[in-house]
Amino acid sequence: MLSTYAPALIFIAIGATIGIVFGLLNKFLGPPPRANSHKADPYESGMPSEIKQGFRFGISFYMIAILFLLFDIEVLFLYPIAVELRAFGTFALLETITFIVLLFVGFGYVWRRGALTWK
């Protein structure tokens, strides 16, 4: 059973190692960081900033972010279909169309409810 998943696991392992290596590479290659007090300050166009980590922001930001996430993940499902559409035959095409129409119904609802306009 393991052999069937071997390519995926190897792929994940290589990805992880490359990520970590590039993350740490700068410690050896880059010049030694000169610790001065202001480097870690949050950048606010040149002025001292008071924005602490846990500062709260409006609900509209969260709404827009969640809606984007929803409609963006659907594209993920279309990739495998698009790759092998000819093999799946016309039934898959009809299924995808209904899937997208359902999506548009959801989008219409969200639009009508006014979640997209900025309050």
Binding site: P31, R34, H38, K39, Y43, G46
Partner: protein, 224 residues
């Protein structure tokens, strides 16, 4: 970088080099000639020189316009004198992603702490060019409101001019590039080994008889 390019002594040798390169491209070179061909072109360098070479050729300037020199800095990135030819057109807005700070304009005393904070917030291999006379040496305005950049931050290259022509700023950036690559263009004193010839009194004698055209020479400008 120990890149030794032999000058082509005469045209035949140059011609033979061309033919060999063409054979190599066609794949007709056999292994002995191929090894020799490759041997000639392998770069041998140290890791630090290689990273300097990469760093020097890819400055990310910070969009930092102060005054009139900012308009000339924009012109350097614009169409006629294009800085993209050298790979420096990626102007980053945040100091976290930029490594070249061009002080383009006059630095007022209210702006100096802000510039110092931005310079501190830039990441480590960072370079500073003081563009124009005002940021290098208070230029035209030797008064209460202006601070030369050297007073509060290290500056690598000073570009003279008010405002300097875009070509001058380009030359300044290329000077910085050669400094980062490790072979800075030498000042005339180093080039001709003329250190120590500066005509400076080590310490002015008490009875310095030099006529003081400038009045008491105190901090306040007395030619009012």
């Amino acid at each position: 970088m120990e890149v030794i390019r032999q000058k082509a002594t005469d045209s035949e040798e140059f011609r033979s080099k061309q033919l060999r390169a063409r054979d190599m491209l066609r794949g007709d070179l056999d292994d002995k000639d191929l090894d020799e061909f490759v041997q000639e072109r392998v770069l041998t360098t140290t890791l630090e020189k290689a990273s300097d070479w990469a760093r020097g050729n890819s400055f990310f300037p910070l969009t930092f316009g102060l005054a009139c020199c900012a308009i000339e800095m924009m012109t350097v990135a614009a169409s006629r004198l294009d800085i993209a030819r050298f790979g420096y057109e990626a102007f980053r807005a945040s100091p976290r992603q930029a490594d070249l700070l061009v002080l383009s304009g006059r630095i007022s005393i209210k702006m100096a702490p802000v510039i110092r904070r931005i310079y501190d917030q830039m990441l480590e291999p960072k370079y500073v060019i003081a563009m124009g006379a005002c940021s290098s040496s208070m230029g035209v305005f030797n008064n209460y409101a202006i601070v030369p950049a050297d007073k509060f931050m290290p500056v690598d290259v000073h570009v003279p001019g008010c405002p300097p022509r875009p070509e001058a700023l380009m030359h300044g950036i290329l000077e910085l590039r050669s400094m980062v690559h490790g072979d800075p263009t030498l000042g005339w004193r180093e080039r001709y080994e003329a250190e120590g010839t500066e005509e400076i009194y080590p310490l002015a004698p008490a009875d310095a008889t030099g006529v003081n055209v400038f009045g008491a020479g105190g901090t306040e400008g007395t030619n009012a």
